[in-house]
Amino acid sequence: MAARPGDKHSALLALTSSALLLPAYQAARADAPPQFMEMGVRYSKYKEDDTQGKKTFGGSSERYDIDAAQFHLLAPVADNWSVAVDVQWEDMSGASPWFVGESLDGSPKVIMSGASIADTRTEVSVTTRYYYDRGNVGLNYVHSDEDDYKSDAVAVDGAFNSADGMTTYSGAFSYSSDDIEPTQGSVPTNTLKADKDISSAWIGVSRIVSRNAIVRFGLSYTYRDGFLTDPYKFRDQRPDERKEWAISTGYRQFFMGPNGALQADYRYFDDDWGVASHTLNLAWHQNFGFSTQVIPFLRYYSQDKADFFANIADLDQRYFADDYRLSAFGAISGGLRVRHEIGNWAITAVGERYETDESWGVYSGEESPALVDYWRYSFGLDYIFR
């Protein structure tokens, strides 16, 4: 008298859903604010490979370097509230592609922006979150400031758990107002002063399908309006409106034997500029005991070019960009993240390598000579006040 065929996986769900209606589980299931204050610092280094000599005309071939320092504070406030403050300082230096020109043999080559651009960016983010029986709601404000760019953004997000605690519905809305005032000097700029607005909405659902597995699904829409042209790129001229949407799905399963979890995520992106992309993420979260976690990860990305992307401008076209970020390409990145806890301390280290190539993508198109490869390292230290 086993359970009915095809019914076995639902047995656990049926038992759990009916058990969770009992009062003993009501309180334990409520979303709870963090119990203790947490503080963390992080240093990250992002270094782009120099553009290969054969792909540039003179100029500097050294590209971007970014040093970033982050500070994070999360504190419980009263019984149902928490406040988080995040501050980030970035120091950018190097050169970026100014434009792509045609060499004598007809192959496109990058002209870099010449002398090193140096800029610093400061970002302050404040989030307050309210926790209630069946979920939580957050309100976030971010201010970002750099020499040529200022941005203010607000976001609200919420999560709501189903009565059986197995399904979580979430949604978010954000609005950002950005001002652009390009630094004058090294290259002529496409504007002296401009602005843009970005509105974005997201809905998602995640469901616990067994004790060890969770699936999620999400849908997002972003609307950008205003000066979307790159102010520093020669002849760059983009539409003043961009509508983007993306669907994403993910699966995470824990395996008792190896004491690890597999995470697989996929995202499809499409917009009205003709850009479409696929992102596939794979990660393995390996636990060693209770204090060490090692996470190797691999990401594949493939993008179709924007309708108006070309290496060499066709002057009859209304819009044009030779920005490699709008070209068709494929990218593979892989890395390792390690986290180790000692008492109230936690150390995190991340190393990642990103490489890109026109031929790796599923879409074909003209290769941009400006495609970038980079290394990223990060080291963090967190402390929990308990």
Binding site: A2, A3, L15, T16, A19, A28, G257
Partner: protein
């Protein structure tokens, strides 16, 4: 401040109980111990079939006559029992307890078939009429017994008391039905042994529990041994005889109640069906068959 581990032993629900937890404050620890004991006593007083004033006794006494008013907790518990009945295709039956009148596990002898036959008409969960506010057992003599899930529920309920008091690491053990509180990834797990079905006091498997519940069911708890054959206390509600299935089943689950229900369904089915049901359930499990072979994910752990 270093946390001290408190270890409190007491008796409740007819068995030895043990409460262990980490706490930095003596006064809080005493209060937690008192609250846990009170919560378990509350459930025992409410659901014990041995206490004449319990809700269970009231429902049994009113059998064949009047509906008895029930609260949300009881209707949810009945709902859980209903799910167990469905998922076990009728093998888990809250009304099967009446068969105990024929079985005396201390007597050393088997009951007459006639006395079992006389009781079988009083068994049948599908005949019970209940909703969110009341329950009625339709036949005089029918009984209801929460024994199959109330101890597991009490373990979870005691664990909820620990959580409400801010205890981050604790283990509630009600005679083998356990619920573990482990808040945060740094909580050290509890090493827990699963009793050997034939050797009292010996562990047949070990598991590290960092959170959730572990429940065990087996014929070693109460049984008759006649002509070398064991008659366990888990009865098939349609025959009235002990199930000749697995000897012992343990299941770990996020809730001790779900673990206990799953272990009981595992015990109620014939061996082969039980093993495949457990394997496909999706929870860590351990089982001992009648030849004393061990099965399940937890059997493979060192």
């Amino acid at each position: 401040m270093a946390a001290i581990q408190f270890d409190h032993r007491f008796r409740a629900m007819g068995g030895p109980c043990r409460l262990r937890f980490d706490c930095e404050d003596d006064a809080l620890a005493s209060s937690v111990i008192a609250q846990v004991e009170a919560e378990i006593q509350r459930l025992e007083k409410k659901y014990s079939r041995y206490l004449p004033d319990s809700l269970t006794s009231q429902i049994c006494d009113a059998a064949g006559y009047d509906p008895v008013a029930i609260d949300e907790e009881t209707s949810a518990l009945l709902g859980f029992a209903q799910t167990l009945w469905q998922e076990s295709n009728g093998l888990f039956d809250l009304t099967a307890g009446v068969l105990r009148r024929a079985w005396n596990f201390k007597s050393g002898r088997l009951p007459e078939q006639s006395s079992i036959d006389a009781l079988l008409p009083l068994v049948g969960w599908d005949r019970v009429i209940w909703d969110k506010t009341s329950i009625v057992l339709p036949l005089v003599g029918m009984e209801i017994d929460f024994g199959g899930c109330v101890k597991e529920y009490a373990s979870d309920s005691a664990a909820a008391v620990l959580i409400r008091n801010g205890i981050e690491r604790g283990l509630v053990d009600l005679a083998g039905d356990m619920a573990v509180v482990g808040v945060g990834s740094v909580a050290k797990p509890w090493p827990v042994g699963i009793s050997h079905p034939r050797q009292q006091g010996a562990a047949v498997a070990h598991i590290n529990l960092s959170e959730g519940g572990l429940a065990s069911s087996g014929d070693y708890e109460r049984c008759l041994l006649i002509d070398g054959r064991r008659y366990g206390h888990i009865l098939n509600p349609s025959t009235g005889w002990p199930v000749q299935g697995l000897v012992a089943v343990s299941v770990a689950a996020p809730q001790c109640l779900v673990a206990g229900g799953s272990a009981t369904i595992g015990m109620l089915q014939p061996e082969a069906e039980a093993l495949s049901w457990l394997a496909e359930l999706g929870l860590p499990w351990f089982a001992v068959d009648s030849d004393l072979n061990c099965h399940g994910v937890l059997a493979a752990l060192p």
